[in-house]
Symmetry: none
Subunit: 205 residues, 4 copies
DNA sequence: GATGAATGAGCTTTCATTCAT
DNA sequence: AATGAATGAAAGCTCATTCAT
């Protein structure tokens, strides 16, 4: 298991980043939340950017690892797609209350593109790899489904992927809810899962 | 027509904000892009925040105004929904190249929630109103459609709205593309429109 | 008579400087108070500093001119001193309400020492001359009084002058009142005059 | 004893504020004078305003504390008044050379009234309290003296207080000297003390 | 004379990061 | 490992002043 302090820092950072956004979150605040000193954060993490990237990366690695396991037992593209999005949603909605994970992705992913430091280049590559792995998995099943005549072919695969991805994200951390300042989602985890499955089914020929 | 310099500033700001994000965009850079001095930006706009809020607000006002006009001639909820999302996508994809508008929304909307200054309170309220108007319009047609037996009732209206909204946004400014650092969408405006219409149709009973 | 606009500007400046202090008063605010444009202020006055210096200077010139006239008819140092301080107090308390003049002196005199611009060097010299004239007049009468055996000699003349000057200023624009945020003086013009005369008399042998 | 750096900053600030005035003093200059970085000033003090308020406050607290001690041993209003003004003058003339303390009060007190920040509200209240304590002490002894028939009753107590206060301030940091750009006072600490005592005695019946 | 858009120097303040202890 | 004082770059914002109209 990872170092205890390191975990404490990451958890504090998740909370603060999710609540305040990357920009408005400060190292001082994260340190306070974690109950340690500012200096110690830089002992465990290169920089503020490294901190959020580490969060993002570990999330993506987790998602992909889970998929690797679950997908082994499934051998048709439709169920595979449902599994992938199901896994994703389970994680994002893990803490129904705060929706930290969805917020962290919203807040952190834009930062990935801003990386300039040479030191973080590797972390960026890792994140890109995990991202690609996730999206390639989705793309692969969509193409397989269409090729096998199981999924509607009238839409390009990348279009279908955007519809599935967009729906999935909005259902879990939806823009609408943030814009209107509403706290909760107005529906529960089961509603989301049912909705995604229905959406995917509606593309089944 | 609006003041010339004011427009110049707004256009420069749209470009810089979209490219760099709110945080990393600087007043100095926007001024340089606009070909004017830093000070002049504060002559036309209260603050950096006011600048991006003004952009967001004018976009939303434009969207709602267009909808008001177009929806007058339509009297069934299905076509109305198609029209609303069609309008939105036309605007977001106006400059195929840069996708500035989609990026600006991604970058700017999170800032709306951060407003503290008393001076900008009014602008926040205006934005909230325009946002509500847009989303209420969508919600209304979904409910109308379900009530009239035209749209599948097995999903809660707010779930349907999230699916439509999420798909629409991902199709136009989709996360996937940003994550992978790809410049273009890989498909065109017509593909998007066709996809949204098909998606909506798939909910028609 | 001086130019009408110029007077308007000066009156506005007196009000704003007295209310806000030199530092926090802005040209924009003075222009607004005067009902003219910012630019016009710089047509009539070199700079913000020139503006307050002009106010101070014209006040001092006025004081000295009045003294020149009144003192001609008096030929003993005691009454002369009473006259000088009486004149001063009449002017400072002219607008009982706002005490602008006292405040302006408090606010403006420290700025005289800050003058660096070559252009304002002359104005500084003029102010210094008027200042010296006023204080030399006072010093002269004190020395005359002491030499003639009319005034207590046990205190150095410059000490006596500081007592008279300090009492006079505190009685009219007193620090105490400002510190405690009290609006008025708590006593009237006649009280002040009586007090100064008594104070001077208490030094009469 | 107070933190070393904090003291260094305060001393540097006293010098710079006294020399340049609040407005023209810059954080950069104070930092340079203190031999530390700009940032560190904001580590110890909220803001530039907090800096000067802290100076004022600690001065007033010191004055009041000294008075509390000294006044215990005195039981007539005349000597009490002499003691209070004596204490004040001792402090203001502590560094004969620079007269920093008198200048700081001139420069800083007007800023107290300008406080708007919520954070500094408490400091303002503390300063107001210390101010009130000092002035109430003076007022109390004047009234006691008049009531006991020891002090001339023909002048209102608030008038007497202004005469004593104004004389005291002018004797220590007098306007005249500043106006004429003269460095020194032209008289010494003993002259001042003797003068104040004589002034007070002249009000004794 | 009069305007007000435009300039740009200069300021305070923030905060990630460093490093002596 | 851990602290937190100390740094300094960087940024937003103000406002006196200028000048084309």
């Amino acid at each position: 298991m990872k170092n205890d302090k390191s975990t404490k820092i990451l958890n504090a950072a998740i909370k603060i980043f999710a609540d305040k956004g990357y920009q408005y979150a400060t190292i001082a605040e994260i340190a306070k939340e974690a109950g340690i000193s500012k200096g110690l954060i830089h002992f465990y993490f290169e920089s503020k950017l490294d901190l959020i990237l580490s969060i993002i990366l570990s999330f993506l690695e987790h998602v992909n690892k889970l998929n690797d396991i679950k997908l082994k037992e499934i051998n048709n593209p439709i169920d595979s797609l449902k599994t992938v999005f199901g896994t994703f949603q389970d994680l994002l909605l893990k803490d129904d209350e705060n929706l930290y994970w969805g917020k962290i992705l919203n807040v952190g992913l834009p930062e990935v593109g801003k990386i300039k430091s040479e030191v973080l280049r590797n972390k960026k590559i890792e994140i890109d790899n995990q991202n690609s792995k996730l999206f390639n998995t989705i793309d692969k099943f969509i193409i397989e489904g269409q090729t096998a005549g199981l999924l509607n072919k009238s839409l390009k695969p990348e279009i279908v992927r955007q519809i599935f991805g967009g729906s999935s994200q909005f259902l879990t951390t939806g823009m609408y809810l943030q814009l209107c300042g509403k706290g909760g989602l107005g529906y529960n985890k089961d509603d989301v899962k049912k909705a995604m499955n229905m959406l995917i089914d509606s593309f089944v020929v």
